[in-house]
Subunit: 104 residues, 2 copies
């Protein structure tokens, strides 16, 4: 069962997400790759992305994406799962995420 962890895991309300933060978050190729994989193959724990960066760097990217309202994280035993908040984002910024991903 998903219980808490040392870090509170705060997720911003979609209404309070700034477009600046969203665009800056999506302007990084590693982060776009994360989003792309989540969109294509569904929820995944942090350690299963196979990206060529250090674990600490990856953690930084997940935090950035979470604070930008792009994904939601929850703990599941030993690992931390990631879910795309696509529906919520599409309500506030219609088509943005998809269009950006398609552009790459």
């Amino acid at each position: 069962m998903p219980i808490g962890r040392w870090a509170p895991l705060s997720h911003p309300d979609v209404a309070s997400v700034e477009v600046d933060d969203l665009l800056r978050a999506l302007a990084d190729p590693t982060r776009r790759q994360i989003v792309r994989l989540l969109l294509a193959e569904g929820d995944r724990p942090c350690g299963t992305f196979g990206l060529p960066v250090a674990a600490s760097t990856l953690s930084h990217h997940f935090r950035t994406l979470r604070k930008a309202g792009i994904l939601r994280q929850y703990d599941d035993g030993r690992q931390r799962m990631n879910t795309l908040r696509l529906d919520e984002l599409d309500e506030r910024f219609p088509g943005l995420v998809r269009t950006v991903l398609d552009a790459s």
Copy 2:
């Protein structure tokens, strides 16, 4: 007649525009405002945007937008005109610019 100026005014080929540069360029509110005004009211010289930044800062933003392939600049007498390269961009990144602007 638009002649040259001290700076060569180089414009990248749309095919060589990286999505990273485009997104980074659009991730700045001042630059988005520039693009928005160009889209809404057509070509304008640099000095007619009424934005709350110093002239040198504005010049930096125009250079960023030009290098990202977002606008084209040409000299007209004393002033430098700016044109949106929307059609070209839409061919390479369909709907991106519009979607981003609509999101703000």
